[in-house]
Symmetry: none
Subunit: 191 residues, 4 copies
DNA sequence: AATGAATGAGCCTTCATTCAT
DNA sequence: CATGAATGAAGGCTCATTCAT
């Protein structure tokens, strides 16, 4: 995601950008503040003038990541004209994106795995992201199946969302997208 | 997985047992060797006479975890007489187990999230587990659909496995099993 | 020590005022420049345009504190008409002031405890304060015992000053003024 | 205070010994863990295997200091045969000791100045020391004035203790023992 | 004067691991 | 096998100070 305007990036943005790369690739706990500031070419003190803690940077990263990733997803389906096509498009996006990210998977789910403490501030961002993604897909299903009963729509949405999460997980685990066509075919049959 | 004989547990087993609890609950990187030996009541040196590194303990944990978890799964479906009932039973198991483990999810997938390095020794255990689980389920689908074409069986298996991984992920993320009935109904419709 | 005119306080004075509160309450080394400027609502750069270092602020604080505290002491005995009454009054002041300051004790002695280096600039202010206080009390004793020999006056002053410092210390240590009456009675017997 | 036997000192004792020197000379907050381990020739990790924090070392130091200093005091008056001589001896000790310690004063009072927080663990040790010293002197006064009323003994003790604390403070402040003879003479007159 | 971003040495503490006993 | 003292690199974070605006 290149910045759209040519305004000079702030150090804060530099830090988030570097952290995004490292947290995502190496994991949150395997990435030290030291490495982040080193790769960003920024002093220790500067880091802590922008973020009160590593955790605060983690939250800022997840907030930014939510915007970025949601943008990618929406962009990828913006050309589709029907809700059904959009839903199917999200599964195509899954394959494309996972290959592009070297099969690292969902930043939010990965960070949730690393941060089981139920009161972690990171969890707030994670849950917010997952909920928003969920609502986005629920809306698409509702749009497509507007004629059906609430219960039917809800169940359809539930399994499609589980298929989305499952496909993501499977591709991450195996570094292989070969399950995707069958999954997509099943989704199609549900719509 | 209880030990089959009544011999006193070795220190090595004590360490794995304590590590299992802590790695699973807190995460691999958030759990220090110090905490493990402390809670196991074992000396530092003794630890390193049994495991050459924390990573080696991690591998031993995952090996043991594979046996334990697979045992739970097989036990839970051993009463079923048909392949179809066994497959559906795995989804019931999912709900029961996830509630019992406080929604922490799959030790292997969580550890994969924490340890993205592709050459990590932990990854070997993770991949082995996931592959064995996959083969187990593939066998069940093959047994059930023995009359169908290889391609059909393969596709059915793929989507069921994705549904299994997806349901697991969804329950972990939301600490809620309410997606499970719809997922199970879909699986049933596929068999 | 209120400012004698009604001009708005300068930032410099704000800084000294905030520092006074924090240095006294928390100790000199436990109080950071950051906290001072934050509570004063003043920028980092502004701080260093007024004081070349934290130590310089410390000196300014002690200078101001000397004026303030000496003012309190003099005010408290200004109503007394004899030297003897004034001397006894200083011990009454001790009790009143120590209770008011929550038994934190003498800013100068406390800072001396924190700053043992013999060439510390802070020490200059501390010694100056203690000397001036000493001369003030010596004058009172001289006034009262003007008929006695120099040696006698000097010895009387010495023990009274030691009793003053001792009472201050004792009240600080115990957060309790119950030694004061006995001390005051002894002082009275010496005059 | 040299160790009386030739047993090899433990690293823990080395650390306390080095810390004692540095905390006393430079102050608690001006002395870093780094400097302590460096001068003790001990690794970081070793430090924290002996003390869970710098504060814990501080407490251990004060505990040891209490024994050491009390020993010095008792030794210095053990040759005296009467309570009166012992009391007067404590003031002689004051002068001797203060010159020997380069007028740094009482480790406990200095540390109290640095650590105003009322719930500091260091304060527990400080208060314990001051109380024990107080009881020691109260006992001497009681022994000497056993014929007098409780109130009389209490008041005498109070002023003598204040004189002790005051003399200590005055010598520390001025790096000069010249007040001591007059103080000692006054104490003598009270006994 | 005034600002506040930027600095980097230093803070206390924890880490996984080694080694002599 | 078992011990636990010892290691030192690295962890996250705060410090007093500088400097371009």
């Amino acid at each position: 995601m290149p910045t759209t305007n040519s305004s000079p990036k702030s150090k804060r943005d530099d830090l988030i950008e570097v952290a995004a790369k490292l947290f995502y690739k190496q994991g949150y706990h395997c990435t030290g503040v030291q490495q982040i500031i080193q790769e960003a070419g920024i002093a220790k003190g500067t880091f802590y003038s922008h973020f009160k803690s590593k955790e605060a940077l983690g939250c800022a990263w997840l907030k930014a990541r939510h915007q970025e990733w949601t943008g990618w997803l929406l962009d990828s389906i913006s050309g589709k004209t029907t809700a059904k096509a959009k839903i199917l498009g999200t599964f195509d996006f899954l394959g494309t994106w996972m290959q592009a990210c070297d099969y690292r998977g969902c930043a939010f789910m990965n960070t949730l795995s690393e941060t089981p403490a139920i009161d972690s501030p990171l969890r707030v961002e994670i849950v917010a992201h997952l909920n928003e993604l969920k609502e986005m897909m629920r809306q698409l299903v509702d749009d497509h199946h507007s004629a059906r009963s609430k219960k039917e729509r809800s169940d359809t949405f539930k399994v499609i969302f589980v298929l989305f999460e499952g496909a993501l997980t499977e591709i991450r685990n195996t570094r292989d997208t070969s399950s995707l066509p069958a999954v997509k075919a099943l989704v199609k049959s549900l719509l």
